[in-house]
Symmetry: C2
Subunit: 458 residues, 2 copies
């Protein structure tokens, strides 16, 4: 099904190879998907239409929407907006200047986005999975056509962190980025801490409240955070997208006792995405990690997101806001549209490069292997009796793990005594061997927990 | 004294009235001032030259610097960079594409900036006083010439908050902005709280450590914060600069006992700049205010800055970083230069409007009078004996001030008993009358403190 668009304009938008006067007619948007993000985008564009035009210098108009369920779509957008159930019709439509892809997924979305680019259209997407997996191909195609592919909504939606990294901090050599960039897992971890819940119980509550999906794998296994981290790292360091090389650990193994014991030492556990530049390459890793309880990042609660950046000139900056939501994501999608409204028709050299630096200057930094990444660690070692603490300490000395603190946990209702250890900086490879050695001690009564401690200067 | 620039190019940069291909030659920068910010800008431009060019798509080169002390300037920039002691020479120099004004002050700086604009040059400045006072005139001149006047370094230097407000949040109707935007006063207030110091002692320590100037008036009286707030409000609400209408209270009247008593009720005192849209106009005010101690804004310590924004689609977002410093300010100045490098020669319609919205769409919102602005309040009332609490409560009832909590302060070493009150939302006019009435009670033994409580949803 396809209804004619309201207005009819020239056919294929000319490629932006020659500089044109900026247009004062409306920027014509075709949108693929009218689910949570799409309906929020429709709503905010309508509600704030005048204010957005006052900022953009021209009107931004939805001219066609592709949806799977046209009846449902019509109930959202009303009778006047043309609808189609064929996304490719939006991607290639002659009256569309920019395609907003908010359908999600990686396979078909890739085809739609590449088709839109081939037809000289700009693209705005909130699809982190698509970009983490197919971003290099998509950006290369966009460079050939001179079009914008913008994706502020792909990371920590309400926070303009992509813009901050690649424009606001453009003067800096960025040293590291650390983010709480998955709201579902932060909600679960906040629940576990506040109410002493085990992971499975907190997950069930998050699902009941709509903070976790029925299949929560992408969130709780850290994959969604790694998608976003690969985008942050590329923009921070001018490197290619390296999602496939990221080290990813989720939170499903965490126990209530881990959270409580970390708390006793003055730390909170957060699922962190960390990208850090080292002499030999880049750390690129998602894992549950301990942060001092007084640190701002430890006080990001519930489904909120925050990203901290250490840069050589600006120092430490932090960006905080909602990491999901219908209008929260729409805020980012429309901000990208406003950028497009200004740059449409301009020479592509006026655009901000897709991944922060111009392609010829990309810095092909290798991702450091997991075993080589060195941080302090937290160990929780259940022992048959309190005297086991000495054997634990001796074992760590044998394994040449530097130790800052060894203590017995204060209370462990019903559980065996717990030896808690804070190590000095040690490579993960060394820690893995030490944890293995601890696990085989006769004095150790259960599974050893080993987590990184993140020292985020503030 | 004037030395020839290293390179010689065409004369007057043509006005950006017609769209040109973006240039690939270096963006040529003339800088006025080589003090703290200027030397930081010189240093970061040199250190990160390749990375900045990789982001900007072209090299950014200093071609001439104006300084009062040429010997000192030469010791900073070396022998190869042309120097002059006449800022006007930089402002009108034929080889300069963009003038960086980091000399400060309002009178001569206005002349230099207007001259640069008249010669078709873009301007980057970190001078909030200049823009708060002369911004409307400067931006009007820049619109005529089609040049950029960028000022990310004028507010919360390390944080790209101007960019976040006018680009990142462009989709939103912004409801309020609240900022800790003066590092000197936040340092003093942090000292007062952490060490129980009175204002004068904390100020002296801040001066000794270089966090406060010898004449700290602009900072401690809230004027510097009001300069910045007027820029934030204009960009948030699409309104003109209204520095002259801002209500400004500083922190010099605060006592250690105010800080301690606020703490007892679970609050911290911060110097806040608040701009809030109401039905009748805009609140625009700088004052010391109470924030719940667990709030992120209450945990912004020392000389750090933070700005919180409530927007209709994005919800609450927060931006945190250093508010002053040589390279921290340079980070913002150079980010502006990177924007200019991309847009130089483009039609002015491609630029982000100077104050967020296009001039024809400016929303001339009136600033609400102080007496009309309603918030909860905190009162500290010294009384001759503890029984005075009843008379205080009765007086507030007579004055029709809604009361949430009345309590005696826990300990007040050496001082009279203190009645602490948290009111419900009440207009400042009502509170002023009530404070006056309390002050005249026989039971009251000293000066009554009245401070706003800021309810910043998080």
């Amino acid at each position: 099904m396809y209804r004619d668009p309201v207005e009819s304009h020239a056919s294929l938008t000319p490629l932006a190879s020659r500089e044109q006067r900026p247009s004062t007619r409306a920027l014509r948007v075709g949108m693929i998907g009218i689910g949570t993000v799409g309906s929020g985008t429709f709503r905010v564009l309508a509600r704030n239409h005048a204010e957005i035009a006052a900022r953009a210098g021209r009107s931004i108009e939805l001219v066609i929407v592709a949806a799977r369920n046209l009846t449902r779509a019509s109930s959202i957008v009303g009778p006047d907006l043309p609808l189609t159930d064929d996304p490719m019709q939006v991607a290639t439509h002659p009256d569309v200047d920019v395609v907003v892809e908010v359908a999600g997924g990686t396979g078909p979305a890739r085809d739609w986005v590449l088709a839109a680019i081939a037809h000289g259209k700009h693209v705005v997407t909130a699809n982190k999975a698509l970009l983490a997996v197919h971003g290099e191909e998509i950006f290369a195609a966009a460079r050939v056509q001179g079009v914008v592919v913008a994706y502020e909504g792909a990371v920590a939606v309400s926070i303009p962190i992509v813009k901050a990294l690649r424009e606001g901090l453009a003067a800096n050599r960025i040293e590291w980025v650390a983010g709480i960039i998955n709201g579902t897992t932060n909600f679960i971890l906040s629940k576990m801490r506040d109410e002493g819940l085990d992971f499975a119980v907190a997950l069930a509550q998050a699902q009941a409240l709509g903070y976790a999906e029925a299949d929560p794998t992408f969130d709780i296994d850290g994959i969604d955070a790694a998608h976003k981290l690969s985008l942050l790292a590329a923009n921070a360091f001018g490197m290619p997208l390296r999602f496939a090389d990221a080290q990813i650990e989720g939170i499903a193994q965490l126990k209530a006792i881990d959270v409580a014991c970390a708390e006793q030492l003055g730390f909170r556990i957060k699922l962190l995405g960390v990208a850090r530049r080292q002499a030999q390459g880049v750390e690129l890793r998602v894992q549950p990690a301990l942060i001092p309880a007084t640190h701002l990042m430890a006080n990001v609660h519930g489904a909120m997101n925050a990203v901290m950046v250490k840069a050589d000139a600006a120092g430490v900056t932090l960006y905080y806001g909602a990491g999901a939501g219908s209008e929260q994501t729409a805020s980012a999608v429309i901000a990208d549209l406003v950028d497009v409204a200004r740059l449409d028709g301009a020479d592509a050299a006026r655009q901000v490069p897709h991944l922060g630096v111009h392609a010829h200057a990309t810095n092909d930094l290798p991702v450091l292997p997991r075993a080589a990444v060195s941080t302090p660690h937290f160990l929780r070692v259940p022992v048959r009796s309190a005297s086991g603490i000495q054997r634990v300490a001796a074992c760590l000395a044998e394994q040449q793990v530097p130790v800052r603190q060894v203590a017995l946990a204060a209370r462990c209702e019903g559980a065996d005594p717990q030896v808690l250890v804070l190590t000095g900086p040690a490579a993960q490879g060394v820690l893995d061997l030490a944890a293995h050695a601890l696990q085989s001690l006769a004095e150790v009564s259960g599974g050893v927990t080993s987590l990184r401690v993140e020292e985020l200067a503030a």
